[in-house]
Amino acid sequence: MDGSQNIPRRELAFLDERGGFSLTLKRNCSNSPAGFACACGALAVAALAIGTGFALAGAWLVLPFAGLEALALGAAFVLYARHAADYERIELGAGRLTVEVADAQRSARYELDARRVQVCVRNEHGVRVVLRGPKEELEVGRNLDAEARLRFAAELDKRLRI
């Protein structure tokens, strides 16, 4: 899409040429959930402290608004931090393809038979990469943008057929 952007791409670091590989895909997050919690918490405490101060001075209707705002800050934290640590780890070794997906609080581990897995690229609501086994389907590459997903799918496909 933005091929015109002259941006150094993050390399998809497939390990050695021949054998297996291990790949971890994370979203870009410049702050840890704990760090963000501190920022939101400090703000909420400041707003509540100001509200309490006014309540003591008789103007208690500031406090409910500070409370509402603290809730909004909390919601922002939950919404953001839930997915801040999402990752997908894809490992190939000894004929097995292992996919570990952490999404919000849940983390799941899937084992697939590498010889019977197909890599499909679908074009519904943007590009999606799906691993199709005999019984199950598994979406991967959700933390990549469209262009990187295509390159990822091509490379994965190549590796699986070695």
Binding site: Q5, R10, V62, A66, E69, L73
Partner: protein, 507 residues
């Protein structure tokens, strides 16, 4: 339809900017009405009550409808591009934050058509006058609630974006100063806005639900309202000014072809201004009768603001020192800002002194002071920012000659309006009056003529912008030689609809 449902930060930025221009025009027309009435002594154009309604709405609309949204527009356009993020953290929330604004603005304007008209209480909405107003007051209170909600949602979004979505390598101390000033502004908004919401809610319950927070008739305390309002009101000044400082901190280095002098001290000075802004509020109310200790505390605290502000002015000048300067329109506005804002800062220092303030409290000296801060400070910074980034946004260059003419006209007319108001204030002319003694006539005539000129000059600005969008010459990726933030170095002109879906790596 695209514009109603859009969640793209660039679209929403554009919406904010146009909304702000519309409100700037509405508020500007009100100012022209005010200056028409004040052109001559005596009452000629309107009755005094309507005059009060105009001053009130002019203030509210300019502060909440024009100046704050213009900088939120900048934030939406620039912050994701400057930190290498694909969009704002909460894109749908961003859309809601914007669409609350036209709704609130409609309520404000509608209040003119209510029985009793718009509230004529001044933008500060002091009790107990607010208790006596008609239904227009309730619309205004509701509008302020909505505006506050929009600001809070917007700030939470900005904080989340800046803290969490920076590109790899974009550490906090590498962020462009514009981003820093917005981070601090968002903190200020989150801390101050509930106080405003509380203040107007208590006004509402005093009016309709039998409480007596501020109504002395029921045992309440009108001075408490002033404390509550100004606890919000003074940080609000910096909410308006800080993003402007940020814009100036991008523009001056670009046209000096030098990095910003004293980057770290700029960050610390901005934070210091933000913190001090919470302990100076009572300098707006020296005359309500407070203990001398209180007056002294607020006087010294207020004078303290001059230290970090002085650091900033020094750094801007030092950035220009021995730089290879050119004076395109953005730089002209930045220099105009530097001179005029500093003047406004100095009169602020004068007003911080209790013995002087007691003399000039509620006179045109105060009006002159805060217009130097709001217009020559914030508005000039906004113009600087628009001329600076419009090539990036539209892909076209604006007409440089017309831009320069716009600057000079604005500068001259601005000083014509407001410089003379210092004299009026020192001579004792009170603010918020539609009539005045004959001795004030000359300066008022000059001021009014300046206001009409200033209004016309902004039509030229509108023409320059439309001309730039329609048929400006194509702009290169980096039209300003010294500009060095990511949007200039990494993105083509005009910027694509989606940028930085893969974050750049910042070294």
């Amino acid at each position: 339809m695209r514009w109603i449902t859009t969640t793209n930060h660039k679209d929403i930025g554009t919406l904010y900017l146009w909304f702000s221009f519309i409100m700037f025009s509405v508020g500007g027309l009100m100012a022209v009405g005010i200056r028409m009435e004040l052109f001559s002594p005596g009452l000629q154009v309107m009755d005094p009550d309507f005059f009060n309604q105009l001053t009130t709405m002019h203030g509210l609309i300019m502060v909440f409808g024009a100046i704050m949204p213009v900088f939120v527009g900048f934030a939406n356009w620039q912050i994701p591009m400057m930190i290498g993020a694909p969009d704002m953290a909460f894109a749908r929330l961003n859309n809601w934050s914007f669409w609350l604004l036209p709704f609130a603005a409609t309520l404000l304007v509608l209040s003119f058509f209510m029985p009793g008209g718009a509230p004529g209480v001044g933008w500060t909405m002091y009790a107990p006058l607010t208790v006596q107003m008609g239904i227009g007051m309730d619309l205004t209170i509701f509008a302020v609630h909505i505006l506050g909600m929009s600001s809070i949602l917007g700030s939470i979004n900005i904080i989340t974006t800046i803290l969490n979505m920076r590109a790899p390598g974009m550490t906090l101390m590498k962020m462009p100063l514009f981003v820093w000033t917005w981070l601090i502004t968002a903190y200020l908004l989150v801390a101050a806005m509930p106080v405003l919401a509380g203040a107007v809610t208590m006004t509402l319950t005093d009016r309709h639900f039998g409480t007596s927070f501020f109504n002395a008739a029921g045992g309440g305390d009108p001075v408490l309202y002033q404390h509550v309002f100004w606890f919000f009101g003074h940080p609000e000044v910096y909410i308006i000014a800080l993003p402007g400082f940020g814009v100036i901190s991008q523009v001056i280095p670009a046209f000096s072809r030098k990095p910003l002098f004293g980057y770290a001290s700029m960050v610390y000075a901005t934070s210091a201004i933000a913190i001090i802004s919470f302990i100076v509020w009572a300098h707006h109310m020296y005359t309500v009768g407070m203990p001398v200790t209180g007056q002294l505390f607020f006087m010294y605290a207020t004078m303290l603001v001059a230290v970090p502000t002085g650091v900033k002015v020094f750094n801007w000048v030092a950035t220009m020192w021995k730089g290879s300067l050119t004076f395109e329109t953005p730089m002209l506005f930045a220099c105009g800002f530097l001179f005029m804002f500093t003047l406004g800062g100095f009169t602020g220092l004068v007003l911080s002194l209790v013995p002087i303030d007691i003399q000039v409290h509620d006179t045109y000296y105060v009006v002159a002071h805060f217009h130097y801060v709001m217009v020559a400070g914030a508005l000039f910074a906004a113009f600087a920012g628009i001329y600076f980034w419009i090539p990036k946004w539209t892909g076209h260059m604006y007409n440089e000659t017309l831009g320069k003419i716009h600057f000079w006209l604005t500068l001259v007319f601005f000083n014509m309006i407001f410089f003379v108001q210092h004299f009026l204030g020192l001579a004792g002319m009170p603010r918020r009056i539609p009539d005045y003694p004959l001795m004030f006539e000359t300066w008022n005539k000059i001021s009014s003529l300046g206001a009409f000129g200033m209004g016309l000059a902004q039509l030229l600005f509108l023409y320059v912008v439309i001309d730039c969008i329609r048929k400006g010459a194509p702009a290169p990726q980096k039209p300003w030689e010294g500009a060095d933030s990511l949007e200039w170095t990494h993105l083509p002109t005009p910027v694509p609809y989606h940028t930085f879906e893969t974050p750049p790596v910042v070294k």
